[in-house]
Amino acid sequence: MNLHRAIIAGVLIATALAAGSCTRSDEHQTTIELWTLSLRPTFTEYVQGVIQAFEDEHPGVRVTWVDVPFAAVERKLIAAAAAGRAPDVVNLSDLMFARFAGAGAFLDLTDRLPDDPASRYHAGALAVGRLGDGLYALPWYLTTQARIFNTALLEQNGMDPSSVATTWPELRDQASAYHARTGQILFTQPLGQDSQLPVMMLADGLIPFTTDADGTLRADLTRPEIVSWTTDWVDLYRRQALPRQAATNGFEHLIEVYQDERVAVLNTGANFLGRIRGASPRVYEQTEVSAPIVGSLGRAHIAVMPICVSRTTRHPDLAAELAWFLTSPENQLAFCRLAPILPSTPASLSDPFFAGPTIEEEATGDAKIGQARAIVATALSDGVAFTPALECWPTLRRAFNENIKRALLSDASIRGVLADIERDWNQILNETDRQRSVAGSPPLSIEAIPTPPPAGASR
């Protein structure tokens, strides 16, 4: 058989096989589609168990579970929504949630829940799902951070591991002195790509927003205290007391530089411990975990994974019920036993599992993971999601990232860069207000910015 005959035969066979795989839907049941983020294959059994329990409670209902890779969910969701195939219930990151919620993708759950969500969920985590007067997401699992440090490396460079600072301003000063003395880099944090500066700013009690006389939300990044604060961080980078990747890479560089022992300290999610163990067993052995590095307010930042219900769902009550069921204290506790995450339901935290390492962890040499869990669970009580409930927050963050990279990677005037960011932010805020006005929604409000009192003080 010559080549072109072989091609024809192959095409016919493969096309027939491909065409034969078209799916057929079951018309005799109520089907709810649930999308989660990167949970297969590690948590397949857990999620299927929860779905089975929900289906048992709701005869005639079938839940179709689709697990989507983290990096693909936005594109997949946009495509599915455009084709009228948006899932009924979807799990997103807090930043992605804000973007889609701002476009009106989700249903207001306020009147569809069986009980008061405020009595069930962590207040700071629940706030992420509130936009204007509506509740557009329930908080599922959370992650907060822990201070992870390489004791051997610190000692080798003449630093007592117990003296590592617990606040960002102190750590910044410590890193500067450490670099001047040893030429080494103490820690890293994403400052350019996925810049954490806006979050750290809020955690330090600096609000980069203000309001006009008529109550319009405006950016306020050029006032002296914010210029001075930003200058301190940019100067630290320019003095090479932070690795180059701090300006050019996002979170993925943390593990890379830590496992290579180019930095001695990280402030990151406890789930990174498992990845350090996987990448470098030796560095893992030298690693200890302690309370997170926090801002001047003394409150750790919480990252929330919201669960939302699509506005176009044909079964809004059932979908809201599934979101409520998935985020119940019992189901979240069972999930936390399998994954390095925290529950958004304070009731789950009273379980001894969050008090320290389990017997199994002690026996298998994973006590550090148990200690980290206890540390982050303690930090959670005072934790706040320093994520403003603004649908344009991801766009504001992107504008910040693009401009601040210029300040980090050149000698550009920091005040000038902040003025550029302020101008961009005001344009974005104006556009968002215009869209809200068209949709008949209330204008953006400074109420959406998390402004908690310092830890320990009453509001």
């Binding site: 091609i7 294959p41 495509a79």
Partner: protein
């Protein structure tokens, strides 16, 4: 005057430069292969052991790679085959037949190569879903069953075939389709093989479109299945590395098989000059 021999310093610099480029090109792949064979006790940032095959076993079992590989073979064969067939079919009139607007059609076809796949994912998804292709292997195949690059490549190959051969077939009573099938295709074999090679590599490694259009685990292709192994909770990247190594092997085998057709001189000397 005899040209002087190249200075040894220049040669050394050229070799050093070539060595650096080689390391940059194959270094990451080499790292991937080494990581795939490392046991969990090994340091990932070194090229040292201990070594194991367990990562491959785990990747195959946990990643469901057997089903994914079968799907990938089906999708790749269908996509590559359709690409060659349809591109050759579309290219023939653009190269040899005279009709009004031929050049405009060709320019329009070429213009589509300027649009990145990411931009057209949403409208393409909408159309594919509307045709009932959502979450099916056919959905992963049909939207990419012909490419502008393929049409361009085939057109250039047909243009290079001497007109005399076509005219001889015409005198013997062959029609356009017969000439395309019996004269043009055999003589354009090197270009068709090249297009098949590019199509196979493209289809085999395509992640974005299958990720968007496929939903059920049963329909996942290899890149989608491997991508899933790098989730936020994954702690052993060596298993994903092993899966990637397994996924690359068929492409290498295919290249070694198809390269015998990649001979530009195939139709040289067919016409007396």
């Amino acid at each position: 005057m005899r040209r002087s021999a190249r200075a040894p310093g220049w040669t050394a610099t050229a070799y050093a430069f070539a060595a650096i480029l080689t390391v940059l090109a194959i270094g990451p792949a080499l790292w991937l292969v080494v990581g795939a064979f490392q046991s969990p006790e090994a340091e990932l940032n070194t090229l040292s052991g201990p070594w194991t095959l367990a990562n491959f076993r785990e990747a195959w079992r946990e990643g469901g790679l057997a089903a994914a590989a079968t799907n990938s073979v089906i999708v790749t064969l269908a996509r590559a085959g359709l690409n060659v067939l349809l591109a050759a079919l579309a290219a023939y009139p653009l190269a040899r037949l005279s009709f009004r607007g031929r050049n405009t059609v060709f320019l329009l076809v070429l213009a589509t190569t300027m649009i990145p796949e990411q931009v057209i994912v949403v409208p393409m998804f909408k159309i594919a879903a509307g045709l009932g292709l959502y979450d099916s292997l056919a959905g992963a195949v049909i939207p990419f069953s012909v490419s502008a690059f393929g049409i361009f490549l085939c057109r250039q190959a047909f243009l290079a075939i001497p007109q005399d051969l076509e005219e001889a077939a015409w005198i013997d009573g062959a029609g356009s389709l017969r000439i395309w099938w019996s004269v043009m295709l055999p003589l354009a074999t090197p270009s068709l093989a090249l297009l098949a090679l590019f199509s196979v590599i493209g289809a085999w490694s395509d992640l974005l479109w299958p990720l968007v259009i496929l939903q059920s685990e049963d329909n996942f292709t290899l890149p989608v299945a491997i991508n899933r192994m790098l989730g936020v909770f994954a702690t052993n990247p060596r298993v994903a590395y092993a899966a990637s190594v397994l996924a690359v092997v068929p492409i290498i085998v295919f290249f070694l098989t198809v390269q015998r057709w990649l001979r530009p001189e195939l139709f040289g000397g067919a016409v007396k000059g």
